[in-house]
Subunit: 403 residues, 2 copies
């Protein structure tokens, strides 16, 4: 009979379950307040709007919604995305857009079409764990560039670009996990460097529309398109409806030059034929008359309040020597404790105090089992309610103080 | 700037757009009757039942349905699948089931976790094009074993197994594209050979519940489980709701030993985090009280009628020397013309006659641009209505006669 263990492909050697997932299993404690996940606030999901849209969809287009459809995605939804992106300063037509099953699938597709074993990918340090996971399954290696309050360190980046990575992965707005935003000056420099060295940019922007203060900054895509002919350029732009509508539908997109989008489409065809026709048409039905612009205001108001309460709590309860980022939007902030402290040890004490977070080392590609970022942690402020946030931060302060 | 063309991974070299897709572009003719796709009949989609279920779901579990959920899938839906499979003679618990975004995703995951570059995979000849496409993206090679009216040729198979392929891919029921069913005797032999040579079986069964005559035969999975301890064995079983409910939701599953399912789950986590919570819960809401058992009767009645009309039409309109399979279920039958004829040439004439099919060579892995199966074609009988089928087969007979 089969010994399955001997059959697995080499690429699976480096693929492990997300550390976050494993840590969350430890966090199954009644009454626990969690800042560990990255979940939207479900109490503001627009359920009635969704219900009305579902009824209308099934009554008017039921046969189409339940049938197979094209790999590229539902054209009216792609058109809606084009309008949204062009309003942000980009320049697209529907041929530039591929609908994906959440933006996680866009990350997987990008790994599949670009990464040969042992290719290196330039990532921010810390970076989004889901991207690191997706790309390790294609046997990527990582080169890292640190982020500070203004995003990725462009001087350090230039040195790393000389090693010729396959592409660079940048989260410009309210970065997951650090909560920081790439400054305008640095955006220009990143785009210039990418063009100078011929290294494509994967721009991942799940939170860009959730800004609570300050001015929107141009996407890297928009800055890059200024340098190129139409339908050409150096950037792929990833977006999602998970944060401005609902993650349970699994709807995202990748936008870029037509030739690259066609390659992505081929990879998607083998991966899942197409994203659910029903969920694509449902989202379109919800969004076609501008509902999401209204709804974004609600989300921004609720999350801004939660962020502010978390920031106040940190001010009040954190011992000396602890610092944190001030996110202008998004879902996360990043706490740094004094260098002698270990977030993994604080985590155990925090769980006893009934509060959870993700230790920062989980987001460092070079050291998933080691100690880079040993004294850091990621806190989510979108999912817990204001009262829970106030209590949870006090508990966390106690856990740090007693560690 | 980036020259994207130089950046693609080697694995993409062998990935091309589905021939079917390209041919269908040629078939954009008004009034064309198509036997080329593999679409269910949309006029019998249970839209009202779906609508009621959607309303109930959003009213009762709206927050959960729109939120992130676990990679493994919605547990009540997995339990429902367990009950279905155990009633078919298998022996599973929920830990043996991973929900996938259509069974195409299960094929992709299997490629990802098992196929190293240049591994060979044993496939039936002809075989399902979507599997060949998914696995070529992991740089598989293929070894083939012909099918006849009783399914894969088990004597020829044994010779090929000696070359130690990574796994074998079998569609036992109403095979796509040939419409043939693996006999009981051969099922036993396939399972015995797989165990003797230690070669896993990927059993793909999208059509098994759509039988129009004869008795159900035991799945390879059930036969294999008799030979092993609980939660062990040699088979992964793939299923889908696309044919017994609706493909637009993209819901399938893979069932197998827990250890292998955990590996699949890891691969899925990086690929799309999880399948849409909403569509999983919607399907569960539709199916939980047994609706699909009722609905299957409707589908069987409609498709049996269409099959019968197609078989009658073939009898009446095909010139001497043309033969075809007699499918006991499923969506497809397979036509073989005299050896001197070229299906690709007949295709062009058929399009002029306003009828479409897929030339058989599209389903032969060794010869996507060549001539293996040059005189064969696949006909779908689920999507066109009875009147269209009668007219279309007459047109097809004329096209063959005049080629």
């Amino acid at each position: 009979m089969t010994t399955w263990q001997n059959k697995y492909a080499e690429r699976m050697d480096g693929v492990n379950s997300s550390i976050i997932r494993e840590l969350l299993k430890l966090a199954q404690v009644p009454g626990l307040i969690s800042f560990a996940g990255g979940l939207p606030a479900p109490e503001i999901f627009p359920i009635d709007v969704c219900n009305e849209a579902a009824t209308r969809l099934l009554q008017e287009h039921g046969q189409q919604a339940l049938q197979y459809s094209s790999t590229e995605g539902y054209t009216p939804l792609r058109q809606l995305i084009v309008e949204k992106l062009n309003a942000m300063g980009m320049n697209f037509t529907v041929d530039n857009i591929l609908i994906t099953s959440g933006s996680q699938q866009a990350l997987d597709i990008i790994g599949k079409i670009f990464i040969d074993p042992h290719d290196s990918v330039l990532v921010e340090q810390p970076s989004y764990l889901g991207a690191l996971q997706a790309w390790k399954a294609y046997q990527s290696e990582f080169v890292t560039v640190p982020v500070d309050d203004d995003g990725i360190d462009v001087d350090a980046m230039e040195e790393v670009l000389k090693s010729n990575p396959k592409f660079m992965y940048i989260l410009p707005n309210f970065q997951n996990p650090a909560g920081v935003t790439l400054s305008l000056e640095r955006r220009k420099k990143v785009v210039a460097l990418a063009n100078q060295y011929g290294i494509p940019i994967i721009e991942d922007d799940p939170y860009g529309e959730l800004r609570y203060e300050g001015e929107d900054l141009p996407p890297l895509m928009a800055l890059d398109q200024e340098l190129h002919d139409e339908d050409d350029g150096n950037v792929l732009y990833l977006g999602t409806f998970s944060k401005i509508f609902a993650p349970g539908l699994r709807l995202g997109w990748v936008a870029g030059p037509t030739a690259v989008i066609q390659k992505c489409t081929l990879a998607k065809q083998g991966a899942d034929l197409h994203t659910s026709t029903y969920t694509q048409m449902l989202l379109y039905e919800v969004a076609k008359d501008g509902f999401l612009d209204e709804h974004k205001q609600v989300i921004r108001r609720v999350y801004k309040e939660r962020r502010d309460i978390m920031l106040e709590g940190l001010e009040k309860h954190m011992p000396d020597g602890v610092t944190w980022t001030h996110p202008q939007g998004g879902l996360f902030l990043w706490v740094t404790m004094p260098d002698h402290m270990q977030a993994r040890e604080v985590f155990d004490r925090a769980i006893k105090n009934k509060v959870a977070f993700v230790p920062g080392y989980a987001f460092f590609p070079e050291s998933e089992t080691g100690y880079t970022g040993h004294n850091t942690m990621r806190l989510n402020f979108s999912n817990a309610n204001p009262e829970q946030i106030a209590i949870g931060i006090e508990r966390l302060g106690n856990a740090i103080r007693n560690s």
